[in-house]
């Protein structure tokens, strides 16, 4: 049914989707060559929000680059904080106190929950359902309040520091988090699954739409829920463990179908897994300092360092080349959505406009992260 009717070249027209379009959630522009409602060719055009983060890193000290990391993927900022501090800590050989590692995991996972909730909300909005958006925001708001109490900000966190975190969490945060998890657990089956996941309209719109094969994922370097929705079990938290993730018992949801529904289900399951991780981390939380003694100006030895973390949209990698100076010689940031978006053109070919947009929504794009 999604196979397009073959058309003559001169009967197509160009539709500019974006840079200002409700479905692109930012300033992505997709140049669509359309035949009626069928997409004949889709070319994402980037660069509308390029801010040269990598270049900025080269004339700042290591610590001064911290705020930049939060401004790439603003929905999962703490994972980016984490990836960057991890790389620098590897470079400078800094040991992180255990409590700090636990706090990092708890906050990153909370942040992952907000990211997935917001994706869910925005995806439903793409599909035309408005009420779920506000139900998800209601929950997300609770997490933001919790994180605001410890980090001081709500969206663009700058909370991690080399050798630990900015400040400790308190008992209010711990009980608040436990209550929140209880609340989300009770709301998930009804407001999320009964209202939306099992809805026939949603199932009809997502099943067998936007099929991405394993080969395509490999070809474009796709990661994250997109890859796991195509049946590949790959998650940096398990495959190349970092921080204290090996100490927790959690699963990596994998679905083989490779369609939008599979990616949807991967994310919904990840919400539950994140809650499991947070609960375990809160149970095991050790006492101790949250920040190691680190010199104010870092000068790591010359060399080439790499660290990767699993962000909500896939693996975020950070490659750091140092020449013994107080700022990086080169910092290369690998952001997941850039790779995930690049397969959009190939997969969207021959799709209906509405399906292509549903597929785009299922990729969970965050534009500032693509453009950096």
């Amino acid at each position: 049914m999604t196979a397009p009717i073959r058309c003559r070249e001169d009967e197509t027209f160009v539709l500019n989707l974006g840079p200002q379009h409700p479905a692109t959630h930012g300033v992505l522009r997709v140049k669509l060559t359309m035949d009626g409602e069928y997409v004949v060719k889709a070319e994402p055009v980037l660069g509308y929000i390029h801010r040269m983060h990598e270049k900025m890193a080269e004339d700042r000290t290591f610590a001064q680059f911290m705020p930049n990391t939060a401004r790439m993927d603003y929905l999962h900022a703490l994972a980016y904080n984490h990836g960057y501090v991890l790389t620098v800590e590897r470079a400078a050989g800094i040991e992180v106190p255990e409590r700090a590692e636990y706090i990092r995991v708890i906050t990153v996972e909370l942040n992952r929950l907000t990211s997935h909730l917001l994706w869910w909300a925005a995806f439903l909005l793409d599909l035309g359902g408005f009420s779920p958006l506000l139900y998800a925001f209601d929950d997300r708001e609770q997490i933001l309040d919790l994180l605001e109490r410890v980090t001081g900000s709500r969206l663009t966190y700058c909370y991690f520091r080399f050798g630990g975190v900015y400040n400790d969490i308190d008992d209010d945060f711990i009980t608040g988090t436990r209550n929140f998890i209880k609340r989300l657990r009770s709301r998930l089956p009804r407001l999320y699954h009964d209202l939306v996941t099992k809805n026939i309209i949603l199932i009809k719109r997502l099943k067998d739409i936007g099929f991405v094969s394993k080969e395509q994922c490999r070809k474009y370097g796709a990661t994250g829920p997109l890859l796991r929705g195509s049946g590949v079990q790959f998650d940096i938290r398990k495959n190349e463990p970092y921080s204290v993730y090996p100490e927790f018992d959690f699963d990596i949801p994998v679905y083989d179908e490779g369609d939008c529904m599979a990616r949807y289900m991967v994310r919904m399951d990840e919400i539950e897994q994140s809650m499991r991780i947070i609960e375990q981390a809160l149970d095991k939380l050790p006492d101790g300092p949250v920040r190691a003694k680190v010199p104010k100006i870092l000068k790591p030895a010359a060399g080439d360092y790499y660290a990767a973390v699993e962000a909500a949209r896939g693996s975020f990698g950070c490659r750091l080349v140092c020449n013994g100076d107080k700022s990086p010689y080169r910092l290369k940031l690998r952001s997941p959505t850039f790779s995930n978006l690049s397969l959009f053109g190939e997969v969207a070919e021959g799709m209906l406009l509405a399906d292509a947009l549903a597929f785009m929504g299922s990729l969970d794009l965050v534009i500032p992260e693509i453009d950096r």
Partner: protein
């Protein structure tokens, strides 16, 4: 029938007022309903419960400049919003609000209303086409295919009603259902029609939602796909008229459902029939339509056509046959 000159004038004023009030305050009701479903407050600043919000919105829309972008078909672009309002207003003429509140009782009033509803579809087509915007053109094309697909099952179910009541006059159809809910077409005991008429009602209701371009069938406006569809280039009162036209279409749709299936102005228990029952029924229907809109995600144009051609049309045809059989047998 009274033929004095006052009657048409009074009715004209009355219906215009009814239509205007509905078009304005349904917007308020929609926002309020949506807000509470989403556990927000909705409009609340302008007047008590935000009741004067439509006036504020109206003033705002009217004071804005009517922008006609270059590259549009000027005349059609101006006509389209008016055309969206007029058929819905005209339909009011034949709708019997109660036994004696009706401007004109026309024998073919059912057909007249469906003919006018199709003209409403043309308004969207013209607006989309004249805008010269690609999103608007796609939206216009969608509206046409959707309209055709949904008019068929709708008319087939209406034929069953016509067969049962034996009239195409709305007044007669409503009169045939007086005296308690067991006389309404949806639950009609007499002749055993209640066995299957609720299916016909569902088909008709789904179709009327689709005909008025309401979510989950709002293919034409699909804001996350087509920006604002056929309204993309409209601002100021052009946009306002389209909105009002949409709400009026909902009112007409609800009136039709009430008259065809829910006994018109008849009371459910057989006493105190009158216009209040009619109003209660249409507002319950309208609220249901709002409620549906804020619950479901949008369908996709092909799924929507599938629903019509694969489910609604076969069901309505079977329904027609069953009706004929019932009428013949009982």
């Amino acid at each position: 029938m009274d033929t004095s000159i006052w009657r048409p004038i009074l009715y004209l004023i009355g219906f215009m007022a009814f239509a205007g009030v509905n078009a304005a305050w349904l917007g308020w009701a929609e926002r309020k309903g949506a807000a509470h479903i989403q556990r927000r407050n909705g409009p609340k600043e302008v007047g008590p419960f935000g009741l004067w919000q439509p006036l504020a919105d109206g003033i705002k829309l009217m004071t804005k400049q009517l922008l006609i972008p270059s590259g549009t078909d000027d005349i059609l672009f101006r006509i389209a919003p008016i055309l969206a309002m007029i058929p819905a207003l005209t339909s009011m003429v034949v709708i019997p609000f109660s036994g004696n509140i009706q401007a004109r009782s026309i024998d073919m009033s059912v057909l007249l209303i469906f003919a006018l509803a199709s003209i409403g579809m043309f308004a969207i087509l013209l607006g989309g086409w004249a805008s010269g915007n690609k999103y608007a053109v796609i939206s216009a094309a969608r509206v046409v295919s959707q309209s055709i697909a949904y008019e068929i099952p709708m008319l087939i179910t209406v034929i069953t009603i016509v067969m049962i009541t034996g009239s195409t006059n709305l007044q007669d159809i409503a009169l045939a259902q007086q005296g308690g809910f067991w006389h309404w077409n949806i639950f009609r005991l007499e002749g055993g029609h209640f066995v299957y008429m609720w299916i016909a009602f569902l088909i008709y209701f789904i179709c009327s939602v689709a005909e008025t371009n309401r979510a989950p069938f709002d293919m034409a406006e699909a804001e996350s796909e087509l920006v604002a569809g056929y309204m993309t280039e409209y601002g100021s009162m052009g946009f306002g008229l389209f909105m009002m036209g949409e709400y009026l279409n909902i009112v007409v749709g609800a009136c039709m459902t009430t008259i065809l299936f829910l006994g018109g102005w008849g009371s459910p228990f057989g006493f105190l029939p009158g216009i209040w029952w009619f109003l209660i029924k249409i507002y319950i229907l309208i609220f249901t339509i709002i409620w549906i809109r804020w619950t479901y995600p949008r369908t996709q144009i092909y799924k929507l056509l599938n629903l019509s051609w694969k489910i609604l049309i076969p069901f309505s045809l079977v329904n027609l046959l069953v009706t004929a059989a019932f009428i013949k047998v009982f």
